[in-house]
């Protein structure tokens, strides 16, 4: 009996000490981790705007970001809120969640986006794209030219897909195929960009709306197709203004 008590007590002590130590470390390292994650995100935004250069240091990224990228807060009707601080937006990357919750809290639902500003002109915008893959939620950004139709770039910064299969979505061979594709069809209504099953040219879809798929990752590919469309849909009111040149 004593033996059992000792064993239990020993196990409890080990758990206690380990958890205290780990929480202390996690708390202490959190600011540095958040800073690193933000820097990584900003680098991705720069890359989706084709503003990255070989061998940029973290200082270069910061200054380039401050110089040519503007953070914008809008609501679902496309209204811009210059007074709301960008960093204070919670869950600004979860536009898929917003789609399902739209009816419920349309009032306080704010969206984020990035503008690429050159010589005082908005030359492109990047919107967050979020949606389900096979195992995980995919998080990324898609940049559209100022016609709010032509894709300027796409990037994924967080996901938990299978390395070598679904995780290929972050590889350049996949993302570079999106550049130059159109999200609107000829009549001006939303079409999105479809990730083909197999080669794009064998899919029978219009060439400006389809990219090569990833073999062995059909569900991830379908997820990318859906999330591109859903997220453009969500930003459509804002994008429509952009098309008219009203931003």
């Amino acid at each position: 009996m004593n033996d059992n008590l000792y064993t239990l007590g020993y196990a409890a002590m080990v758990c206690f000490v380990c958890s205290i130590l780990l929480s202390a470390f996690a708390m202490g390292l959190k600011p540095a981790q958040e800073k690193a994650a933000l820097l990584d995100l900003n680098t991705k935004i720069l890359s989706v705007f084709s503003l990255t250069e070989e061998g940029m240091s973290s200082k270069d990224v910061e200054s380039k970001f401050a110089e040519s990228v503007k953070e914008v807060v809008i609501d679902q009707n496309g209204k811009v809120y210059p007074d709301i601080e960008f960093g204070s937006l919670k869950d600004k990357d979860k536009c898929a969640v917003l789609i399902t919750d739209r009816a419920r809290n349309s009032e306080d639902c704010k969206l984020s986006l990035y503008q690429k500003v050159q010589n005082g002109q908005v030359t492109a915008v990047a919107i967050p794209i979020v949606g389900k893959g096979l195992w995980s939620t995919l998080y990324g950004y898609m940049a559209l030219e100022k016609d709010a139709n032509t894709v300027a770039g796409i990037t994924f910064y967080k996901h938990g897909e299978t390395p070598g299969l679904g995780a290929e979505i972050e590889q350049e061979w996949f993302t570079s195929n999106f550049v130059g594709k159109k999200v609107l069809d000829a009549s001006g209504s939303l079409y999105g960009v479809t990730v083909a099953k197999g080669k794009a040219k064998d899919s029978g879809l219009p060439a400006e709306h389809v990219v090569d798929g990833i073999s062995g990752a059909t569900i991830t590919s379908n997820g990318v197709t859906d999330l591109v469309k859903d997220c453009v849909q969500l930003y459509e009111p804002y994008l429509a203004q952009l098309r008219k040149g009203g931003v």
Partner: protein, 207 residues
């Protein structure tokens, strides 16, 4: 070999004679996964050295009071805590690398070398030799990882630590990078050849 002799036995033994990868064939999973580039392999090795050494020392201190019925669980608990610690530090200061290493940092927990050394050595020896044993085995792992990673990076991408080492002239003459080396089978083949070479040079273990 003179240099090896001058080192404590706990460190020199696992480097060559009783290398955890080449002789005991432990820790193969991560050795295959993170050897595409030398930089990743080095960071991974440092993490493994830290974890083996740290868990060996801690468990060696605990060895007298440790109830033997739950010893494996306690060992895992200590090892897991150390691994999480490493993971958190990497995320804070080496974000890009920690993304590339992804799950393999977390999988150090299941690296047989760590639990193997805790079970086989730390539980029966005082802290200082356990520390040396942990460092030694970590270095043994490092040695193999770095050799394989360096070969894979040179053959597969023509680079070493991200710098071009194959001259452009060679490419102009028709040399091509070996795509196989970037893929997991490349690691299998190189590691197999390495183990074969080491074991045949040295004679079969125990002979």
């Amino acid at each position: 070999m003179g240099l090896l002799k001058s080192l404590p036995k706990e460190i020199s033994d696992p480097l060559v004679e009783n290398n955890p990868i080449a002789t005991q064939v432990l820790g193969i999973c991560s050795a295959l996964a993170v050897t595409v580039m030398l930089k990743q392999a080095i960071v991974m090795s440092l993490a493994v050295i830290f974890v083996t050494a740290g868990s060996n020392v801690i468990l060696s201190f605990m060895r007298k009071g440790l109830p033997s019925r739950i010893r494996i669980i306690v060992e895992m608990c200590v090892i897991a805590s150390l691994v999480i610690l490493v993971d958190q530090v990497l995320r804070a200061y080496l974000f890009e690398l920690s993304k590339q290493l992804s799950v393999f940092v977390g999988l150090i927990i299941t690296n047989c070398i760590v639990l193997g050394r805790a079970e086989a050595y730390a539980l029966g020896n005082p802290p200082l030799p356990s520390l040396l044993d942990g460092i030694g085995n970590g270095l043994g792992y490092t040695l193999v990882l770095c050799i394989v990673a360096a070969l894979r990076e040179i053959l597969g991408s023509g680079k070493l630590l991200g710098m071009e080492v194959i001259p452009q002239a060679a490419y102009a003459m028709g040399y091509e990078n070996m795509g196989l080396m970037v893929l997991p089978p490349g690691a299998f083949i190189l590691l197999g050849l390495y183990i074969w070479a080491v074991n045949s040079l040295r004679g079969k273990p125990g002979e």
